[in-house]
Symmetry: C3
Subunit: 340 residues, 3 copies
């Protein structure tokens, strides 16, 4: 794909070369995210960080990635403060807001809304999550994390054995990650969910058509054996038809250190798109895993920064300028960053 | 008026020379808003963007205008997160917040509240909208748009024929625009509204006293003939005594391409203070006008940026420094901007 | 204490030398807060301004303090937009958010929450208020104000006579201030409250043990006589078991100019942690005191800026660099600032 000036709406825009391009630029961003240097390459540029659905983590992550490149952020974080509630169309919102910024990140609860918004926008738009549909930067940071973790174990993404656990029906992170992983060779997917929350059939068909292996199960213990990566998900309660139906699945699969030790291979990496539900009756990833060095969930969020920086830099065509406009950090940074 | 250090509370502060001053500075801001150059003239300065009533568009527009001059924005976007709900007076809020910033933009639902706030503020305050009362930057951007559109048609604001359509009673944008237009010569106002939503009598009296013509009507088709500008408004439902009363007027006047073609002169410019209500039963400006080159509604919002930049620059006395602290933009800007 | 890289969670971290260190750096910040110069020492640094409880004043004050040092702010201002409502633990929130910023200010309604958050954070955390527990920067700015006001009257903090008025049970500002004042010599505390809202016994015991004098009373008039400082507080209605119970105390103590003139010594300084409740039936500090030159409440909030700047600069170890990266302000600043 051509990155310059492009919208990023779906992982299906990316082929394997595109993914490699993003990851190569992300690697270049590491010293800036790790606070060894600062760059001011986007000084004077404005991000419109438009979150029309509650979010702290993703909104702040995009904003920080932009700040780390030197730019300014203007943002909104709720639908009710918006003209949308006065009947404004996404078309109008996009025409107006795209006059105010150099690039827009948008989240909205309705599937397809970001694409509609992007069609009317005068600046590039990155999908920050549209309902149960897509969240491409999450899938990219997940894949980037998988690649980094595998490299550290002298393995490759090709040949990966990944176990996906939990609500595979409503979890957009899982859907997008399956699409991206399918770009690689010889992936083995172990899909672990209750029957009602299976990965939708079209994803399974696509995965198989691209030559990968799929094994489905409703049993956690057998499903997670032999995995390089365990990708555990929260029940997406807010996407269920009813709260009652959602609660039936709360706490169904719970990974803790005991189960990990008994059923997983020694260096199986544990991932999660976050937030994990740490309420006692949910706890899909137990707190007792927090000191497990293979728990990669916070390396994931750290990686989110460099992936988002890379997307910004590629779309706005500044990758070659970053090192020219860089200088050392002169304040205390301590042991802040997991990145390396 | 003296701009340096001044509050901007009402359009009645402006005479025609003042308007010309703002517009001349706005013209100078065009290359910065159009991303040909950046300026950092307000680097280190802080805008207090205090919106105590829901708003995305106007809040973001002021924030971006400030960022485009190099400054930082601190903001609030809701009343319930504020000390105001704990019984704090506007006096106290103003004394405190004005210690934190170099200038404040304030929106509040109560008419007169911004003036009360400004009286206690230690820094200049711009009224970002106080209930049904005033929203001076909106009126300035509307007039600036009218001027630009007329220039493009080799016409002038003097002698303008403008049709104002819809809820003329509660629409503060209409009220303020009438005040500003009255500073010019020989304006013909065609006021189109249901009898209950007429422009308040005092505005009509003022317009006539200043030598302009007023014609009132409840009929859209006859009212819009011969207009240079059609200024269409949304029913300000939130200002009505009851929701039921507001809904009686929804969808009363609906301009679409067919009506435009049949009843308007060929180059009649279509304006709207936005948001337009695009719900099926409202739709005061139909979506089928979106490709009409005379639809100026997004040129209005783009013009809002340069008008707000101009106000900031004039109040803080930096107009002469802007070009000295300017440099080229080095990131992708694409076809972002309607400004020219 | 060692400031570099440290969390600031409680006033009990500070001894008198530490307080003097903060105040000395705060003094150096005055020209920047007063807009004589700007410094860009934290250009490229990011503050995570995480307010999980409604606040405008304190949130904006921390953000501005950071901006005045040249840094960028990413923030959140409500709990409901947060992953916390999806069951995320404070541990997870801290691990994630601390990957996005160089320092975090956090406010949360639960006592102890900020400490729990800080334990998991990879960057320094400043407590911006955790329920009824602590709000150390408020106590520091209060004490700094007392010191400045006493210096102006050629007095010292040692030997101070302070009257604390109102809800002394739930007011965390009062609790923390008592702790800090106890570091000085020979303080006389006059505690004025209804019996049910007395200062908790453990504070009184601590104060006395450190050699200070305590006098309790439920009578405003006698209690405020002979005070150098009157520190008046709002009833912390949101911390009461029930709204009914809170309302019983509304308006119980009301200081106005008449009472001040009759019962106070001529130059008694009036302070309040703000917001003051200016509703007619509360009005613990009457508006008729607004022109009283001894009303120091807005000098307090102004002082908050330099105290917060000092904390940031000390924690991030940039105090020695500030003057090197400084330049004059070139925009209109008028008579903005009370600081001197």
């Amino acid at each position: 794909m051509e990155f310059i000036g492009s919208h990023i709406l779906s992982v299906s825009q990316f082929d394997r070369t595109d993914v490699d391009t993003v990851f190569a630029v992300a690697d270049k961003m590491l010293p800036y995210a790790a606070r060894e240097s600062i760059t001011r390459v986007l000084e004077g540029a404005i991000l419109g960080n438009m979150f029309f659905e509650p979010s702290t983590r993703t909104r702040v992550s995009f904003g920080c990635a932009w700040n780390l490149l030197g730019g300014e952020v203007r943002e909104t974080s709720e639908v009710k403060a918006s003209a949308l509630v006065k009947g404004e169309s996404l078309y109008d919102t996009a025409r107006v807001l795209s006059g105010y910024s150099d690039i827009i990140v948008m989240r909205h609860q309705l599937a397809g809304s970001v694409e509609e918004f992007a069609a009317a926008s005068r600046v590039p738009v990155i999908n920050g999550g549209d309902g149960a549909n897509e969240h491409p930067s999450q899938a990219l940071l997940d894949l980037y994390t998988i690649k980094k973790e595998m490299i550290a174990q002298r393995k490759t993404v090709d040949g990966l054995r990944i176990a996906l656990v939990g609500d595979l029906k409503y979890g957009r992170a899982v859907h997008s990650l399956c699409r991206l992983l399918s770009l690689y060779q010889d992936i083995h997917f172990s899909l672990i969910s209750p029957p009602e929350l299976r990965l939708p059939e079209n994803y399974i068909v696509d995965i198989k058509r691209q030559g990968h292996q799929v094994q489905e199960s409703a049993d956690l213990h057998s499903g997670i054996a032999h995995a390089d990566i365990l990708y555990v998900t929260r029940t997406q309660e807010e996407r269920f038809p009813s709260k009652e139906e959602a609660e039936r699945y709360r706490g169904l699969f719970r990974l803790n250190q005991t189960i990990y030790t008994e059923y997983c291979e020694p260096n199986t990496v544990i991932m999660h798109p976050l937030p994990r539900d740490s309420r006692g009756d949910a706890m899909e990833l137990d707190d007792d895993l927090n000191e497990n060095p293979n728990l990669a969930i916070f390396r994931q969020t750290d990686n989110g920064l460099v992936i988002r920086m890379a997307l910004f830099a590629l779309i706005l065509d500044v990758t070659s300028q970053i090192e020219q406009i860089s200088r050392p950090v002169k304040w205390y940074i301590g042991g802040r960053c997991h990145l390396s």
